[in-house]
């Protein structure tokens, strides 16, 4: 299947571009072309005449209402006259929101849904009036338009808009000219024709077709049809058949806008003598015409330049799938991953605050660890982040050149890869960061990740984007696997338990005579990631939503093999994990030695704790969705599990337990409140209450304790926690401070 020829048709609002675009589409289809027309105007009426007055559901309404994992291209495309497929971007009510952002979002979705792979010969984008911002300029980006046609009348504002469109196009023009010419839609004013021809001469473009003013258009519109369908044998229809051929094969020109002064003084204000048409014959003499590469390669078949690279299926965060409020932003999530590459650098393309917030999130643990333990974590201490510090003027005029300069400056330092990650503001104004990939050199790869802040999703979505972009760009699929090597996948990059957990796993690997190849991705070098496939087996660090999605992706996209279970938490889980891992390598004796060592310690602690904890009632209220390590330990020490309450958590879903028959009450009510918790505590009367955050004064419970969101792994995780409860119960010590909330209110409120 070949690549579709993409044509953008621009013109000032109300100039008749939708009518002309629809008729071009109809004429192309009538001549046997497979055509998609995409309306890019918030009022979403571009395809009305092709659909006999109907309107397809707009892409933006669809995105708003449909979970992303249910998206289907067929839901947003309707088929009209001559089999022309029709889609409408839609947009906000006038004066509200950002219609330009809507265009960006529409193109992004059409891309993701593979619209160019549906076998269209031609895709026509019908785009609103002026190039008012980066969003409306999307259709003239290199990747979206092979050809651009501008519709204008001789009216001042129409020509002014046409010139602005050329300005926008000039900003995006790189290696090849893409302007097909001007379509003159006559309105019939004084000297109109001369003004348009003079404009065409000034900007060195041909007038590829003149559409006369004619009531036949109104008649066909009254019939809710385009003219080519309603009056197919008319002279006017011939204009469109001719135009349809021109847009496929006509010459292409560079965008050469004139200044406002030239436009006003020489074209619009100067009295015009004679017949403007004399300019038309001379027009091509002074312009640099270049045959379009695609159309010269295949004059009659624009679909012959095939490119069939399949993009990886994007992973979707839980918040996106379930249409939940977004927790954090994708920019922050992606940069938390890319900064784990020890020899690469990440550019935050946005205002200073975005880089600052990301930097502080990453360094927070490092600062605490230095203070408390004197430990320096390399990647969390000075994460390799450089901000472009987008300013007010960049928001208005764009920051492409500034970004390019920043990349070139960093390339002098010589990192093997530079990641360019976009923020909300750069996404909203339509910065084309994907173009920065072209700045890659033989020594430094430039890898853009268009997170657009939270426009693509939440923190977890950014984590996925970071992982996927790194995997696709770096992993060498051709390295030879080596036995006894393992990778670790999906460690938490910002968690206090990460280092300790790694140490535990390293101990086990060493005792099983296995070696660590690569941590995907935690304090890893560019070369280590490249050599990812050297390890035949991957160990999943976290079995939560993030970990399992990443595992599935690496399995499907790279054929990676994963060990069956994530890092184990608690004695039972750890025993099984070590035993099964050792069995994979046929080293059962080594596993039993490890388990025996830990079993002695575990059992000794159980025996010690039982007198204090046996018969005590445990209550758990937590965001953690895997708590069997707590429950199994509690059961081992003889506790009664009175109540388990599971709260909704943006990072995980799918609570499950092997101990449901030993839980007095299980509440997975997602709308748990402070009041319902208080009622439950009063009713359950627990001896031990554990959770992620618990208030100090209002809950009268002998022992309260905190569960880490990212718990420690290993044999002793649960028992060490319960040892603290036992000590507190045994000693019957008090926490007098919990009575002092009223004192605070007395002296400080």
């Amino acid at each position: 299947m070949g690549k579709s020829l993409q044509i953008a048709i621009y013109g000032k609002g109300g100039i008749g571009k939708s009518t002309i675009a629809a008729n071009i589409s109809a004429a192309l289809a009538a001549n046997g072309r497979r055509v998609l027309q995409v309306g890019c105007d918030p009022k979403h009426d571009s395809t009305r005449l092709l659909l006999r007055g109907q309107t397809p559901p707009t892409v933006l309404d669809y995105i708003r209402d449909m979970p992303p994992d249910n998206y289907s291209i067929d839901d947003i495309i309707m088929t009209g006259e001559f089999g022309v497929d029709c889609a409408e971007a839609g947009g906000p009510e006038p004066g509200i929101g950002c219609a330009g952002r809507g265009i960006l979002t529409t193109f992004d979705l059409l891309d993701k849904l593979g619209v160019t792979d549906r076998g269209y010969d031609v895709i026509i984008y019908d785009v609103l009036g002026d190039v008012v911002c980066g969003g409306f300029a999307v259709p003239i980006r290199n990747e979206y338009s092979d050809r651009v046609y501008i519709i204008t009348s001789g009216e001042f504002m129409s020509l002014y808009a046409a010139n602005n469109i050329l300005r926008g196009l000039a900003n995006y023009e790189t290696d090849r000219p893409r302007v097909g010419g001007i379509i003159f839609n006559a309105r019939g004013g004084d000297y109109e024709e001369q003004r348009v021809f003079r404009f065409a001469e000034a900007v060195c473009l041909p007038i590829v077709e003149t559409i006369p003013r004619d009531d036949t258009f109104a008649l066909s519109e009254r019939a809710f049809r385009c003219l080519v369908a309603e009056f197919s044998d008319s002279d006017l229809a011939k204009h469109f058949y001719s135009l349809a051929e021109t847009v496929l094969t006509g010459l292409l020109y560079s965008a050469r806008p004139v200044t406002d002064e030239e436009l006003e003084l020489k074209i619009l204000s100067t009295p015009i003598a004679g017949n403007g048409k004399v300019f038309e014959s001379d027009l091509r003499l002074g312009i640099e015409a270049v045959k379009d590469i695609a159309s010269s390669a295949s004059d009659s078949d624009p679909t012959s330049t095939a490119s069939n690279t399949a993009a990886p299926t994007p992973l979707l965060s839980k918040s996106l799938v379930y249409k939940e409020p977004l927790h954090g932003c994708a920019f922050n999530g992606a940069i938390s991953i890319t900064t784990q590459l020890t020899d690469c650098v990440s550019i935050a393309h946005g205002p200073k605050s975005c880089a600052h917030i990301a930097f502080q999130a990453i360094t927070s643990i490092s600062r605490r660890l230095l203070l408390e333990r004197g430990i320096v974590l390399p990647m969390q201490t000075a994460p390799p982040i450089v901000s472009t510090d987008m300013s007010e003027s960049v928001m208005i005029f764009g920051g492409a050149s500034m970004l390019e300069q920043r990349i070139r400056d960093l390339q002098k330092v010589g990192p093997p890869a530079i990641f360019v990650i976009s923020t909300c503001p750069s996404g909203i104004i339509g910065e084309d960061i994907l173009a920065t990939a072209a700045l890659s050199t033989s020594t430094t790869q430039v890898i853009p990740i268009a997170t657009d802040g939270n426009l693509t999703g939440d923190h977890l979505q950014g984590v996925f984007l970071g992982y996927q972009h790194i995997a696709e760009a770096l992993i060498d699929r051709d390295v030879t696997p080596e036995p006894d090597l393992v990778n670790i996948v999906a460690e938490k990059t910002i968690a206090e338990s990460t280092t300790g957990n790694l140490n535990f796993i390293k101990e086990i690997l060493e005792r099983l005579d296995l070696r660590l190849n690569c941590r995907f991705i935690c304090e890893s070098s560019y070369e280590q990631i490249r050599g990812f496939m050297r390890a035949p087996i991957n160990l999943l660090a976290n079995g939560d939503y993030m970990g399992t999605a990443l595992r599935d992706y690496l399995e499907q996209s790279f054929g990676a093999h994963f060990f069956e279970k994530a890092f184990p938490i608690g004695f039972a889980d750890s025993s099984e994990w070590v035993r099964n891992l050792a069995a994979l390598y046929n080293r059962p004796e080594a596993a039993e030695l490890i388990i025996e060592d830990y079993a002695k310690r575990y059992q000794a602690m159980v025996n010690r704790l039982r007198p204090q904890l046996s018969g005590r009632r445990l209550m758990v209220i937590t965001f953690n969705h895997d708590i069997d390590w707590i429950l199994s330990t509690a059961i081992d020490v003889g506790m009664e599990i009175g109540f388990v309450g599971i709260l909704n958590y943006s990072q995980d879903h799918g609570f499950n337990t092997e101990y449901s028959d030993q839980i007095g009450e299980l509440n997975t009510n997602l709308d748990y409140t402070a009041m319902t918790r208080l009622d439950d505590v009063m009713r359950i009367q627990p001896d031990v209450l554990i959770g992620n955050y618990l208030p100090s004064g209002s809950l009268k419970v002998p022992v309260t304790d905190t569960i880490q969101l990212c718990p420690d792994v290993g044999f002793l995780a649960g028992i060490q926690m319960s040892a603290r409860w036992a000590e507190m119960l045994r000693l019957n010590i008090g926490e007098g401070w919990r009575q002092d909330a009223d004192l605070y209110r007395k002296y400080h409120s």
């Binding site: 995105i63 950002c98 409020p325 922050n332 200073k352 605050s353 930097f359 000075a382 960093l410």
Partner: protein, 430 residues
């Protein structure tokens, strides 16, 4: 691995949020995504806690996300296209029931680009609480610019009536939640000036309530403690209220020398007697002498030890004056954090010229060999990363996260002794 960025500084968005969150009974509603909310909520609550307990279930309304501060509209891509008005109305309705004295809607950088009519939305939704909206805090602007944008708007909206001047009273300008020990620094200045018969009426955005702020027009003088976050407000109030302002010529009252200068200049402007406060400084100096004389005798220090500073000019200048002019230490690197400093950066450079040390300006503190570093937590950890073993004293944010419970300050005689104590405990093995 090269250090691309040793430390970052907050910008005008954070400045505006902290200005309002620094008012005891005001609340920011962030019209923006949670990516902008979580950080500001966490820092506001840790710097200036206003709730007795930390319990996410007490803030179960969707807009709070379990955090007690800076509720937000949690914008997503749909809202950037279709506008934020529906969510904003929902969030304002929830926030309006919590009894705040002032609600300020602040647009995130992304929301600022879509131009929702915040004023109309606020008028439609909030009936009994004063409010206003800041459509844009600027993009990558200085912290102080955002801080003063919010303070100035707040003072405009409060529309304080003209009041008779109390000739021995001042407001303190530029103290913010972004300053290390800001609350105790503020308290120290109140106490020192009180000794001189001068009442501090208010410090905008530094824990005072709206009621206290409404008294501020009585002040005879606005003292610009940190010009980076206060000079613009001082100029505005000179224009709007006719209140004179003073920018102490040695910056913040850090170290004995600049504390003395600060007191003398404020007292001179108000015709007050500086001596009681100066006596406090002298007592502290005498105590310092007791320790310094032994320390110097035993170790020959602190004179000759190298120091580095990363701070705003209004803190770096007095600190350098004190370290080099009082303790005889030698500058190794000084990074001045940007901001409108009222000429203090220039004075710092002039001073360094007098001790033939201008070359230290803009040297990277984390990487320049030295013996003691005065900086924020990120710069300190970065210095460790590159192998420096210098003693480190935190004078800015982000902090290393030490939980300060007992009173500590950088300002005044006690602040000077606190710094001296850390210096003397950090240089023993030089």
């Amino acid at each position: 691995m090269p250090i691309y960025t040793a430390s970052t500084i907050p910008d005008s968005l954070t400045g505006a949020i902290f200005a309002i969150e620094g008012v005891a009974d005001a609340a920011v509603v962030l019209n923006g995504p949670t990516g902008c909310k979580f950080y500001h909520s966490a820092i506001s609550d840790s710097q200036f806690p206003r709730n007795v307990d930390y319990d996410p279930l007490s803030f179960a309304d969707r807009c709070f996300f379990g955090q007690p501060r800076v509720p937000a509209t949690y914008l997503d891509s749909d809202d950037y296209i279709f506008g934020s008005q529906v969510k904003l109305a929902e969030v304002l309705s929830a926030v309006a029931t919590r009894g705040y004295g002032l609600i300020v809607v602040i647009n995130s950088p992304g929301a600022a680009l879509i131009g929702d009519d915040l004023k109309r939305l606020l008028a439609d939704t909030i009936k009994d609480t004063p409010y206003f909206a800041i459509e844009s805090t600027g993009f990558s602007g200085d912290f102080g610019v955002g801080f003063q944008t919010a303070v100035n708007r707040m003072l405009d909206e409060l529309a304080l009536p003209e009041a008779p001047r109390d000739l021995k009273s001042v407001n303190l300008l530029g103290i913010s939640l972004n300053q290390k020990y800001f609350e105790n620094n503020y308290a120290t200045l109140r106490e020192l000036l009180a000794l001189c018969g001068i009442q501090v009426i208010s410090a905008f955005g530094a824990t005072d309530s709206l009621h206290t702020i409404t008294q501020s027009r009585k002040a005879a003088l606005n003292v610009v403690v940190c010009p980076e976050s206060g000079l613009s407000t001082a100029r505005k109030l000179k224009h709007d209220w006719g209140t004179d302002y003073l920018l102490p010529d040695q910056g913040q009252p850090i170290g004995f020398i600049s504390t003395t200068a600060f007191i003398e200049q404020v007292c001179l402007a108000l015709d007050a007697d500086p001596q009681p406060a100066i006596s406090e400084v002298e007592r502290a100096r005498s105590f310092a002498y007791l320790h310094l004389s032994r320390y110097s005798s035993l170790l020959g220090l602190p004179q000759g030890a190298y120091y580095s500073i990363r701070a705003q000019a209004s803190a770096a200048y007095p600190l350098a004056l004190w370290l080099s002019g009082y303790l005889g230490m030698i500058p190794a690197a000084i990074e001045v954090i940007e901001g409108e400093d009222g000429g203090l950066a220039g004075r710092l450079t002039d001073y360094l010229a007098t001790i033939e040390s201008t070359e230290v300006v803009d040297k990277p503190v984390a990487e320049t060999p030295t013996e003691i570093i005065f900086a924020d937590g990120d710069t300190i950890t970065a210095s460790r990363l590159v192998g420096q073993r210098a003693a480190c004293i935190e004078i800015g944010y982000p902090a290393l996260s030490y939980l300060d419970i007992t009173r500590k300050q950088l300002y005044g005689p006690e602040g000077s002794l606190f710094l001296l104590e850390q210096i003397m405990n950090g240089l023993r093995y030089v």
